[in-house]
Structure formats: C-alpha cells, structure tokens
Symmetry: C2
Subunit: 191 residues, 2 copies
DNA sequence: AAATATAATGAACAGTGTTTAGTAAATTAT
DNA sequence: ATAATTTACTAAACACTGTTCATTATATTT
C-alpha cells in the first residue's frame, strides 16, 4: 500500500507540480480515503521525503551515466552537462531533491543526517580530487572548489526553475543558462 | 492603507516566514477584516510581488555600498561578499526576490517584464564589462561570465537557505559556503 | 435632503492537512 | 464453532488558508 501511495503521489506531483498535489488528490487517485495516507506516512512532509529519496535514486543514474568516461576531467564536464539536462528534464524531481523545504523539514524532525545529499556530494568531491590528482586545478582546495562548482550548476538550475531569467527574451533564456555553464567549463579548463 | 498592509505583511513575513504569513494574520495585525486586503491587492501573489519590489529597493543598497570603490575588480569582489552578507542577513527578502514562485506568478499574469531583476542583472553585467575593459577576464564573453558569477553566488545562497548543506557539520557549514565564494574569487583573480 | 461613491465587513465558499472514534473484516484464541 | 483480538479503513470533524460577494455604514457630491 505504501508503494501505491508513493506511485500515485509521484505521478500527481510530476503532472501537477508540488502545490497542486494534495493528500486528498492522492487518496482519490488510489481510491482510498485521505485518512488512509496517514496509516502509512506520518505526515505530508514524510511522504515528500520518501519521494525525495526516490528522486535521488533517479539522479544517481546521472553519475552512472558518466562513469565509463576514463578521463576524470572529461567525466566532470560531462557530469555538469548531465546535471543540467537532468534538472531540466525532471524539474519536479530536482525541486524535491534540492529546493523544497518539506523533505528537509522531515529530516530535521527525525534528527537524521542527509545521507542522499552527502553521498552525491562526496562523489563530486572525489571526482574533483581525481581531476586534481590527474594534474588539474593546481593548488586548489578541493572542498572549496567542489562547493563552488556545485553552487554554480545548482544556481543555474534554480534561476531557471524559479523563473528568474525572465529579464531575457524567451528565445534567449536557455542559451544564457548554457552560456553560464560554458563559462564555468572554460574557467575550469584554464585552471 | 496600502502602505499599512505592506508594512504589516513585511513584518509578519520577516518574523514568521513565508509559509506562516497568512492574509488573516495580516488583517488581524492591522485590525481589519481579511476582505479589506483585497480592496488594495488583487490577491496574495500581488501582495508578495509588492514586497518583492520593496526587497529589491533594500537590495539595491548593496550596489550603492560598493559604488565608491574605484577599482572595478575590487568592486566586483566586494559586491560578491556583500551579496552573500545581504542574503544571510535578510533570508526572507532574498526568498522574495529570487526563490519564491508567487511574485513571478503575479508578474506573469500581468505579462510584465521583470524590471527589478533586469536592472540589477544589467548592473552586474556592466560591472563585469568594466573589469574587462580594465584588463580582467581576457577573451571572456561578458554575458556568459555574468551569468556564471551570478549563478554561483545565487547557488551558494540557495544551498544554505534551503538547508542543502546539512551533509556538513553545523560548525562547518558557513565555512563551506564562504569557501565556495573564495574559490570563485580565486578563479576570477587568475582569469 | 437625496443620490452617489467609498471603505469596510460578516458570512460563506472551496480547498488543505490532519485527527479520532467508530466499523467491518480478518485473524487468533478458546 | 464461538468469542476475543487485531488490522485496515473511514466518515466526520477540526483548524486553517485564500477568496468572493451581498450588505452596511460613512463620506462626498448633486
């Protein structure tokens, strides 16, 4: 039953977005009463946290996708592109993972560590360390550089998802965002 | 009256955060009925859009604060630091400006251009063009670089505000974020 | 003074997340 | 086989949110 709820929630969330996905909507979709949801999930935040975890499973495939690339720097660049591609192909999943407050509130109540975020971030740090070992980023602090790289791609996605590139014409927004990524790549190349 | 509503809304929003600020709460604070709010604002989104505009007035002081710095590159670096400082000193204002969906929805209904965002972004672009004219960022595309720089600082703020640096110990989060900014500055210095 | 405009409201509507006492069905114990 | 217990589910209600609208009181104009 828990599975059914999650599948319905995911479907509605992807179709309608976060704000339009209600407990009642999910209950109606699975043809149960709203109170039934609470037999399986403590509250809505917990439900969204479960979806957040599932989104990370999907997202992890991005890392798998680039794993075959032998050169660490090439892998990093491709990962950056794949990160943006994933975010724009799955905006709702990206919101669940990195923007919505609900999942992190659920985690905070539990006083649990954010294992999904930690493991993905550590993978990024290790990749950047690998690049450095291969001769890139001379003299850079891996931790700082990792944060900077993540912040940049995350910022690009966020600016787009939360509609903060509307100062540009519609036909120019994508190229502006991609241009930001290109600029990052160029800087990393010349580091 | 419109002023009173805005002041109350701002106060409650800063005190309680976005999710806890309701039309009824504002109405109670000014001792009027909730329906009165709608005599002055079309809906909640419009109210939040008005606050969004006020937040930009505050934010613009960040630019004024660095304007006296003669060297454009120094000005840019200081602006970056002030950007983060502003965001962390005024998280709710930053949310209104750059994260919440409500203000942009109000703008979209109106089919208006995002003048606040545009003017601030253009100021950034001009500052970066000025740096380039002074000899920095050789060969860089100003538009791309501007987007990249904004995305980075915005990403850093967003990671913090939306609690996505909880994979780090609490006593290390600030230094990780600041480290990301330091990394950006270092890269800009060596560009 | 009468007519009109303005400012404000009580009540209600539609919707949201959540809780709880109760019920029906399934399972276990006697 | 019957009684007791457990499990799965729900109808109803609560507290709250954003919003609308017919109505009323007050101010202004004719």
């Amino acid at each position: 039953m828990r599975r059914r709820i999650l599948e319905s929630a995911k479907k509605l969330f992807l179709d309608l977005g976060y704000e339009k996905t209600s407990i009642r909507g999910i209950a109606e979709d699975i043809e149960y009463s709203p109170a039934t949801i609470y037999l399986y999930f403590k509250d809505k935040n917990e439900l969204l946290f479960a979806l957040h975890q599932e989104a990370f499973v999907e997202f992890a495939k991005t890392f798998v996708k680039v794993a075959h690339i032998a050169d660490p720097f090439e892998r990093l660049i491709t990962l950056g592109r794949e990160y943006l591609a994933f975010a724009f192909a799955n905006p709702e999943l990206y919101e669940l993972m990195f923007l919505l407050t609900a999942p992190m509130e659920a985690l905070e109540i539990r006083e649990d560590v954010w294992e999904d975020g930690r493991s993905v971030y550590m993978a990024l740090e290790m990749l950047i360390a690998e690049c450095q070992a291969a001769g890139h980023f001379k003299g850079a602090d891996v931790q700082q550089l990792s944060m900077m790289i993540w912040a940049t791609v995350h910022g690009l996605v966020t600016i787009q998802l939360r509609k903060r590139c509307t100062m540009f014409d519609e036909n120019e927004r994508d190229s502006r965002i991609q241009g930001g990524l290109d600029s990052l790549i160029r800087m990393l190349e010349s580091y």
